[in-house]
């Protein structure tokens, strides 16, 4: 099984003709993802990487039956692209763009909420269901079909976690990069219930970091819902000083909220095991299965 994406997912790529868009779409195709269309305003009627390109998402959906958007367009256009995808009736959108102005995302998140589309990102590495489908740029070689769900704010740190789980023979059902921005389409609190409902996911690894209170809200949900699958949490940023943005726009400790220790405490109280290193993550995940 898996969550969000699988071998039947039909993906359209917003930004397919860009340098990044083209490169990552090729990697996705090599992985086995069904890319069925591209959307680039003004380039409709053309072709890229073997698929038809359309001027609008609505037209791409009508002509190809795409159900998911991969949005890889520059920051000034990304929020609008996400809204266009949601308005066209897609069930899922994955936006990897970093640097979107946060107030653009405030509007986009509200807009998307009023449609049936689930948004992952922005500023995220994407989603991977090993052996079936990947959207974004989680490296092709790190995943392996298996039993652990992964949900993470980080990028490269997450690739290491996935690789560790794969090499230990545990493998992943689906790995979801939710992103490093302060305003996101989906938070930990939104993804955990999906793993709860996936019979193949036997444990969940949660990779968090300083900033905001997403980890705390996830911990509260774990307790109130009675979520009983083992959770292994790994939180970055214990050394981060308050008030400083640590790379990710959302990785900043403001006043009393957002510290790594606060997140660790909340998750531990909710019954999660706290890993100190990636090796720990893999060991604890293995022990929990």
């Amino acid at each position: 099984m898996a969550i969000l994406i699988n071998s039947s997912t039909r993906v359209l790529v917003q930004g397919i003709t860009g340098r990044e868009g083209g490169f990552h779409t090729q990697q996705m195709q090599a992985y086995g993802t069904r890319v069925v269309a591209g959307v680039v305003p003004g380039r409709g009627g053309g072709e890229a990487l073997g698929v038809p390109v359309f001027d609008t998402v609505a037209e791409a959906v009508a002509r190809t039956g795409a159900d998911t958007a991969f949005t890889i367009v520059p920051p000034p256009f990304a929020a609008d692209a996400v809204m266009e995808a949601a308005a066209a009736g897609l069930r899922l959108g994955v936006c990897v763009t970093e640097g979107i102005p946060v107030l653009d995302m405030v509007r986009a998140a509200a807009f998307v909420d009023r449609t049936g589309m689930r948004l992952i990102g922005p500023n995220c590495p994407g989603v991977m269901t090993p052996g079936q489908c990947k959207i974004g740029f989680i490296p092709n070689h790190v995943g392996r079909p298996g039993r652990v769900g992964v949900v993470a704010r980080s990028g490269t740190l997450t690739y290491e976690v996935i690789q560790g789980l794969s090499e230990a023979g545990l493998g992943e059902t689906t790995a979801v990069g939710i992103g490093g921005d302060p305003v996101l389409g989906s938070t930990f609190r939104d993804i955990l219930p999906l793993f709860a409902g996936d019979a193949a996911t036997e444990a969940v690894v949660l990779v968090g970091e300083i900033g905001g209170s997403d980890e705390e809200r996830a911990a509260a949900w774990i307790r109130s819902s009675g979520f009983d699958k083992p959770v292994i949490a790994f939180i970055s940023g214990r050394t981060a000083p308050p008030g400083k943005r640590m790379g990710h726009a959302g990785a900043i400790i403001s006043g009393t909220t957002g510290s790594a220790q606060g997140k660790i405490d909340a998750l531990r109280t909710a019954g999660a095991s706290i890993a100190e290193t990636i090796e720990d993550v893999v060991r604890l995940a293995g022990e929990s299965l």
């Binding site: 640097g99 509200a110 490269t156």
Partner: protein, 395 residues
């Protein structure tokens, strides 16, 4: 991007929010001139941080001569690393009540929050912590903005804690509607993640005046507000081009590097990816070391970026060793290795470098490093332990 008080007030004034009369002064003579024109004024250091009053950066003066003296004193100050390069000379207000009106990003609700309180002139977080009922919050619909009835609800809730107002309540709530709407529209227009009037002064004559103003523009939106950025740079940068704050961070910004300085640390850290880079510091600390900095080279970094990053870290003489932590996805090990070797040779690096390298092109990368006499490892905790050991008791 944090605006200076006078810039924030100019923006408020532009959208119809009243601010006290004032003049900008960059020299003691200009301050004296302002006092001559305006009479009794408060001379306020213009720095993009709080706490300037406590630091002695605000003085009330009654004469041009006193203005000149105080201006000279304050212009010579540096407040928490920020040199004072300009002063806002402002007429005082007859304040009947100090209120609070602010807008801030609420990440959890994914909306801007509009906050109003009758407890102005204090830290709003303190008020929220000790007497939350005195803080009224509205999360406007991102497309509709705050509606008049919503602002009135906010106002009546907060003003119920100011019984001294009596019949004035209704008038004040009505006056707050266009003010709050204007502030909200301004925040949207400027991509402000914080837009705060504290205190919002209710004067003896019943006017609402912004006695102090803070405005912070979203870093991700800076390219949309270049004139504001240029204006700000003009006000904070000295002839040497430095703008205050941590000088290493200022230098890193000039070089286009994602870098945070941790003064007092002695182990430089580099990682590819923010989470991984943060974890690199955490590992060093776990092993008993003191990280000197955070630096994320991002995805797909080329040799030049790596070289520039190493050079940046080594500008701090406190650095006694550097830990480079690479897990290559899009980032290629051979590229990074080339950058490290280039830097080591060009900069004549004498301190130990420990490199952990795995992922894309790791064998090629490791080969390049080994040939240059730098032995790479594959385990990050091991590499962290190694650099801490090598830097050892260095002070």
């Amino acid at each position: 991007m944090k605006l200076l008080e006078h810039q924030a007030k100019r923006q408020l004034s532009r959208v119809g929010i009243e601010v006290p009369p004032g003049r900008l002064a960059r020299t003691p003579e200009e301050a004296a001139e302002a006092a001559r024109e305006l009479g009794r004024v408060a001379i306020k250091a213009q720095v993009p941080i709080g706490g300037r009053g406590k630091a002695g950066g605000i003085a009330v003066v009654d004469s041009p001569e006193q203005a000149r003296r105080e201006a000279a004193r304050i212009l010579a100050m540096e407040i928490r690393g920020y040199p004072v390069r300009s002063l806002w000379c402002e007429v005082g207000l007859e304040i009947a009540h100090e209120l609070y009106l602010g807008i801030t990003l609420d990440r959890d609700r994914r909306r801007l929050a509009l906050i109003f309180s009758a407890a102005g002139g204090m830290e709003i977080e303190q008020v929220a912590a000790t007497s939350p009922e005195r803080v009224a919050t509205l999360w406007p619909d991102p497309f509709a903005g705050p509606q008049p009835f919503e602002v009135r609800e906010l106002a009546f809730s907060a003003l119920s804690h100011l019984p001294a107002l009596g019949d004035g309540r209704g008038r004040l709530a009505a006056a707050l509607v266009p003010l709050a709407q204007a502030l909200y529209r301004l925040a949207i227009e400027l991509d402000a993640v914080t837009c705060e009037i504290n205190p919002l002064a209710l004067t003896a004559t019943g006017a609402l005046v912004a006695a102090d103003a803070k405005l912070e523009v979203d870093e991700n939106a800076e390219q949309r507000h270049r004139e504001l950025a240029a204006e700000l740079a003009g006000d904070v940068e000295g002839e040497d081009g430095s703008a205050g704050g941590d000088p290493f961070e200022a230098e890193a910004k000039r070089r286009g590097l994602t870098y945070v300085h941790l003064p007092g640390g002695n182990i430089g850290c580099i990682g590819n990816g923010a989470g991984l880079a943060m974890n690199t510091l955490d590992l060093v600390q776990q092993m008993g070391g003191r990280p000197n900095n955070f630096l994320d080279i991002g995805g797909g970094a080329g040799a030049e970026k790596v070289r520039s990053s190493l050079a940046m870290i080594l500008t701090d003489p406190d650095v006694r060793g550097v830990f480079i932590n690479i897990f290559g996805g899009i980032t290629r090990g051979d590229e990074v290795a080339r950058g490290i070797v280039q830097a080591r040779d060009e900069l004549d690096i004498a301190v130990p470098l420990v490199v952990r390298m795995t992922g894309t092109n790791e064998e090629e990368g490791r080969r390049i490093l080994a040939a240059a006499g730098i032995v790479p490892g594959t385990s990050a905790p091991e590499a962290a332990r190694k650099i801490v050991e090598l830097v050892g008791g260095a002070t």
